[in-house]
C-alpha cells in the first residue's frame, strides 16, 4: 500500500492548526468577554471540531478519497503532540479549577484529540467526496434525486400516504388532548356541557383530524377488500426494501418523538421551577459583607437608578421556631415591606386567604372568621383536606381558639404563613401563633433565654413550591427589626430586573454604582445553583440516552440502505456503464438515507408537538409533595426542536456513508456478470 506523505503532512498541519484555534479562542474569550466558562469551552471546542471537519473536507481533495490510513497517522501524531503540549501548558482541566494532575488524564485528553480529529476529518472527507473531490466539483444531484426517489417509491401515492400518516396521527393525539380538556371543563363547570370553552382553531383541527382518520381508515379498508378480491397473481408485491424503508422512517420518528417530548417536559420542569422560585424570591439580593445595613434608605435611589432594575424592596431574614397549640415547627422568618414587596416578587398574588396589607396594618384585621379566597389553581382532594383541617375546623369548633381580649388581639402584630405550614400548625387566618427566637434573649444565671412573641396570622400564601409553602413566614420590616433588635438595619435589598437572564451583569453594575466593597449581589442562579445544575445535568443525561434511540433508528437506515445497494447492484452497474461518476452513485444513496431521516424527523417532530399539546391540555396529575408541582409541565422550545432535528439528520447522514461509499466503489461489471 502506497502512503501519500503529502496527505499526511497537510492533515497534520491542519489538525495542529485546529488545536491552536481552540487554545487561542479559549484564551482570548476567557480574557476579553463576559461569557461563562462553559460557554467559552463550548465555543472553543466547537471551533476546533469545525476546523477538523473542514480539514477532512480539504484533504479529500488533496488525497482524492477518504485516505483513512494517512489521516489516521496524522491523527496519531496529533495525539502525541497534544500529550506533550498539554503537559507543558497545564491548562485548567474541565473538572473545575484543577490542573491536569495525572498522566492518566493527559492520556485521555490526547486520545480524545486523536480520535476526534480522525472521525471529524473522515466526516468532512465524506462531504468532499460527495461533491466530487475525486473528479471535478459537482454540486448538482438532479437525476440522482430522481433515481433515489424511485428506490424509495416516493411517488404521489406515497407522498399522500406519508402526509396522511404524518398529519393524522399527531392530529388524533391533539384531538384527544382537546377532548380531555373539554371533559375536564364540563366536569368542573357548574353549567355542565355549556361551560366548555375551547379555542375554535383547536376544535377545527381536531375535527379535521378525526374526519381524515375516519376517511383514511375507510379507504384503507376498501382497498384491502378490493385487493383480497383479486386473484393471487394480480396482487402487487412489495419488495422487502420498501417495507424496511417504512420501518426505518418509523424508527427515526419514534426516536425523535421520545427525544422532543422528554426534553420538553424537562424544560417544563425547569421553567416551572424558575417561575416559582422567581415568584417567591427576587432576581437578586443586594447585601453587605458586614451584618449592619442601616443606610439602606439612602442606597435605594441609587439602585433604582441603575438601568434594568425594575423593583427594589428591603428584607430581613432569620431562622425562628413557630408554635401553635401543641405543634412546633422551624421556619425562615422574612421581614418584608408589604408596600414594595410586590415590585420584586409575586407574593401579593400568592395570597389564598386574608390580606397581605394587614402585615403593615394589623389593627384593620377583622375579628370574625375570614373566608378563603376564590382560587382556581387550587382544587382537588388535597386542597379540600387542607380546608377541612383548618378553615372548617375553625368554623365548627370556635372553642378551640385561645380566648384573648379583643383589645389585646387588636394590638398583636401580624404574620403571613405558607399553606403547608398553615396545614401543619392547623392555623387559619386570625389565629395566634408564637414565634420563638434564640437571638437577643435575656441573660439569666442559666444562660440566654429564647424570646417568644405572639403574632396573629394575617394571610396564607400558596407559591406551589412545597419548600417555600412549608418554611417561609413573613412579618413587617419594623416588627422584624424590633423582634431581632436590629435597630434600623436590614439584611439586604431584594432586586427585580426587567431581564431575568441579565441578572448577573446588572448585579455587577449595581455594585459598581455603589462603589464596590462592602456591597455585593447574589443572583437567583447563584442562590439556587444546586437545583439548576442538577436539572441541567439531568436534562443532558436524558438527551444523551434518548439520542441513542435515534442512533439505533439510524442503524435501521444503514441496514435498509445496504439492502437497497444489494438490490440495485445491477442498476448501479448500468448507470456506471452510462458514465455515472462515483460521486453520483454516492449521492443517490446519501440522498435516500437523508430523505428517510428527514421524513422520520418531520413525523417525529409533529408527534412530539402533538404529545406536548396533549400533556398540556390533559393536565397529567403529579403528587405535589414529591414534585413541587401538581401537573406535568411542558415547554415547547423551538430551538430545542431544531437541535433535535439537526442531531437526527446528522446521524442519518452518518448512517448513509458506509452503504453509499460501498455502492460508489462497485465496479460497472459487478452487476452485469451475475446472470
Amino acid at each position: 500500500m502506497k502512503l501519500r506523505f503529502r496527505v499526511i503532512a497537510v492533515a497534520l498541519l491542519s489538525f495542529l492548526i485546529a488545536g491552536g484555534v481552540q487554545y487561542a479562542l479559549s484564551t482570548w474569550l476567557g480574557k476579553s468577554s463576559n461569557f461563562s466558562r462553559d460557554a467559552v469551552t463550548y465555543a472553543s471546542f466547537g471551533a476546533q471540531a469545525l476546523v477538523f471537519f473542514l480539514a477532512g473536507f480539504v484533504l479529500s481533495f488533496v488525497g482524492r478519497g477518504y485516505r483513512p490510513v494517512e489521516n489516521g497517522i496524522a491523527a496519531l501524531i496529533t495525539g502525541v503532540i497534544a500529550f506533550f503540549v498539554l503537559r507543558w501548558l497545564k491548562p485548567p482541566s474541565f473538572s473545575y479549577d484543577r490542573f491536569f494532575a495525572s498522566t492518566g488524564e493527559l492520556v485521555v485528553w490526547a486520545a480524545a484529540a486523536a480520535v476526534g480529529s480522525w472521525l471529524l476529518a473522515m466526516w468532512g472527507a465524506s462531504l468532499g467526496l460527495l461533491v466530487g473531490a475525486a473528479g471535478h466539483l459537482d454540486l448538482r444531484f438532479r437525476y440522482e434525486w430522481g433515481i433515489a426517489r424511485t428506490h424509495l417509491r416516493l411517488n404521489k401515492r406515497t407522498v399522500f400516504l406519508l402526509l396522511a400518516v404524518g398529519l393524522v396521527v399527531p392530529g388524533l393525539q391533539f384531538a384527544a388532548g382537546v377532548l380531555a380538556q373539554a371533559s375536564d371543563q364540563a366536569r368542573r363547570g357548574a353549567a355542565g356541557v355549556h361551560s366548555i370553552a375551547i379555542d375554535p382553531l383547536a376544535l377545527g383541527v381536531s375535527i379535521l383530524a378525526v374526519l381524515a382518520a375516519v376517511l383514511g381508515l375507510g379507504r384503507w379498508f376498501l382497498g384491502m377488500r378490493r385487493l383480497a378480491a383479486l386473484p393471487a397473481g394480480q396482487r402487487r408485491k412489495r419488495p422487502a426494501t420498501v417495507v424496511m424503508t417504512a420501518i426505518s422512517v418509523a424508527g427515526v420518528s419514534v426516536g425523535v418523538w421520545a427525544l422532543t417530548v422528554v426534553l420538553s417536559v424537562m424544560s417544563g420542569f425547569e421553567a416551572d421551577l424558575k417561575h416559582k422560585i422567581l415568584g417567591t424570591n427576587s432576581h437578586a439580593l443586594l447585601m453587605k459583607y458586614t451584618s449592619e445595613f442601616p443606610e439602606w434608605k439612602g442606597v435605594v435611589p441609587t439602585v433604582t437608578a441603575v438601568a434594568g432594575v425594575s423593583g427594589v424592596s428591603p428584607f430581613i431574614l432569620n431562622e425562628v421556631i413557630l408554635s401553635h397549640d401543641q405543634t412546633v415547627t422551624g421556619a425562615e422568618l422574612k421581614g418584608i415591606d408589604p408596600a414594595t414587596v410586590g415590585s420584586v416578587s409575586d407574593l401579593p398574588k400568592q395570597v389564598i386567604a386574608g390580606q397581605l396589607n394587614w402585615l403593615g396594618d394589623p389593627k384593620s384585621m377583622p375579628t370574625t372568621l375570614v373566608q378563603p379566597n376564590q382560587n382556581e389553581k387550587l382544587e382537588g382532594p388535597e386542597y379540600d383536606q387542607f380546608l377541612e383541617d383548618t378553615f372548617a375546623r375553625r368554623e365548627k369548633h370556635p372553642e378551640e381558639q385561645k380566648k384573648l381580649e379583643p383589645e389585646v388581639l387588636k394590638n398583636l402584630s401580624a404574620i403571613c404563613i405558607g399553606k403547608e405550614m398553615s396545614h401543619q400548625l392547623r392555623a387559619w387566618v386570625g389565629d395566634v401563633v408564637n414565634v420563638i427566637t434564640p437571638l437577643g434573649g435575656e441573660m439569666t444565671p442559666s444562660g440566654p433565654v429564647p424570646r417568644s412573641r405572639p403574632f396573629r396570622v394575617a394571610c396564607i400564601l400558596y407559591s406551589g413550591m412545597y419548600e417555600y409553602d412549608s418554611k417561609f413566614v413573613y412579618i413587617g420590616i419594623p416588627e422584624a427589626q424590633k423582634f431581632f433588635k436590629m435597630g434600623d438595619s436590614i439584611t439586604g435589598l431584594e432586586l427585580k430586573f426587567f431581564d431575568v437572564d441579565a441578572a448577573r451583569a446588572i448585579g455587577r453594575r449595581i455594585v459598581a454604582a455603589l462603589g464596590g466593597f462592602p456591597y455585593r449581589t447574589k443572583d437567583w442562579a447563584e442562590l439556587n445553583r444546586n437545583l439548576f445544575s442538577a436539572l441541567k445535568l439531568e436534562k443532558l443525561a436524558m438527551a444523551i440516552i434518548l439520542t441513542f434511540i435515534v442512533l439505533v433508528a439510524c442503524f435501521n437506515i444503514l441496514s435498509t440502505l445496504i439492502m437497497l445497494v444489494l438490490e440495485k447492484t445491477k442498476e448501479i452497474s448500468i448507470l456506471k456503464s452510462m458514465g455515472a461518476r462515483d460521486s453520483s452513485v454516492m449521492k443517490i444513496f446519501v440522498v435516500e438515507g437523508l430523505t428517510i431521516g428527514a421524513i422520520g424527523t418531520a413525523i417525529g417532530l409533529l408527534l412530539g408537538l402533538a404529545s406536548c399539546s396533549f400533556i398540556e391540555r390533559f393536565g397529567l396529575q403529579l403528587d405535589p409533595d414529591v414534585y413541587y408541582i401538581s401537573n406535568l409541565p411542558v415547554t415547547v422550545d423551538g430551538a430545542q426542536f431544531a437541535v433535535v432535528a439537526a442531531i437526527s439528520l446528522a446521524l442519518s447522514y452518518l448512517a448513509t456513508l458506509y452503504p453509499a461509499t460501498k455502492a460508489s466503489r462497485l465496479s460497472p461489471v459487478d452487476g452485469l456478470r451475475e446472470e
Binding site: G135, Y143, E571, K576, S577, M578, S667
Partner: protein, 226 residues
C-alpha cells in the same frame, strides 16, 4: 491507414475462482476503424462479454492496453473514464436493463442527464433517437408496458442518444424471437450506415453474423478475423 478508433494490444484478463486462476483473454489484439461494423462469435463461456467489457473500459485488463483514439484507457482518471463511458461508447446488453420506474423517454434521456444536460435538452435528444429506432409512439410507456423488441430498441436508443462513435452490443437479440431479432439487427445495420457508428455485435446467430462486413471469432483467449 488511418489510426484505428479502438485498438487492443496483447490484452490479458483473468479471474480468480477461489484458488484457481481462469485465463479468459490471453493476449488478444485487434483494432477497429471508425464506422466499421463487426460481428463477434464464439462458443458460450469463451469470454465474449469479458472482451466487450474490457474494450468498453468497464473492466480493466489484467495486462495489455486498450486504446481509444490513440489514448490508453488505463492512463485515464476516473473523471475521464466516466466521460468516455458517457459519450464515447454505447452499450447494449442481452437484457435491456432499463430502469423499470421510468418511461421510455426518461430511460433514453438518462445518459444526457448524467452528462448534466438540462432535462429539456436530454429529453429532446432522447425523443429524436427514439424516433430513429421507430418508437415515436411509445415515449411515455414504462418498460413493463413494452414488448421485448421494443424494450431492446429503447436500450439501443439509450446507448446512442449522445451519438457515441462506438457501439458495443452483447447478444442484443439473444433474448428475442427470430423475427424480432432480425428487426433489431436490421436496425443496427441501418444505424451503422446512417450515423457512421462503429459497432461490435456479439451474436450466436450465424446467419446474422454472416451479414456483417467484418466477422471476428474469439477462441482460446484470442480474437481472430474469421
Amino acid at each position: 491507414m488511418t489510426e484505428p478508433l479502438i485498438e487492443a494490444r496483447e490484452v490479458h484478463k483473468s479471474y480468480w475462482l477461489g484458488e484457481k486462476e481462469i485465463h479468459v483473454l490471453r493476449g488478444a489484439s485487434f483494432s477497429l476503424q471508425a464506422g466499421e461494423m463487426a460481428s463477434l462469435v464464439g462458443p458460450s463461456g469463451v469470454g465474449k462479454s469479458t472482451f466487450l467489457h474490457v474494450i468498453g473500459t468497464l473492466d480493466p485488463p489484467t495486462r495489455g492496453d486498450v486504446l481509444f483514439d490513440g489514448r490508453v484507457a488505463s492512463a485515464m482518471g476516473e473523471e475521464e473514464l466516466a466521460n468516455f463511458r458517457n459519450r464515447g461508447v454505447g452499450f447494449v446488453f442481452q437484457f435491456h436493463y432499463l430502469l423499470p420506474e421510468f418511461t421510455a423517454l426518461q430511460n433514453a434521456s438518462m445518459p444526457g442527464l448524467i452528462n448534466r444536460m438540462s432535462r429539456d435538452e436530454a429529453e429532446q435528444a432522447a425523443e429524436e433517437m427514439l424516433k430513429v429506432v421507430g418508437l415515436a409512439h411509445r415515449l411515455d410507456h414504462k418498460p413493463g408496458e413494452l414488448s421485448g423488441g421494443e424494450q431492446q430498441r429503447v436500450a439501443l436508443a439509450r446507448a446512442l442518444v449522445l451519438k457515441p462513435r462506438l457501439l458495443l452490443a452483447d447478444e442484443p437479440t439473444g433474448n428475442l424471437d427470430e423475427a424480432t431479432g432480425e428487426g433489431i439487427h436490421q436496425l443496427l445495420v441501418e444505424l451503422n450506415q446512417q450515423l457512421g457508428i462503429a459497432a461490435i455485435v456479439v451474436t450466436h446467430n450465424p446467419r446474422l453474423a454472416e451479414r456483417m462486413p467484418r466477422r471476428l471469432r474469439l477462441a482460446d483467449g484470442l480474437v481472430i478475423d474469421a
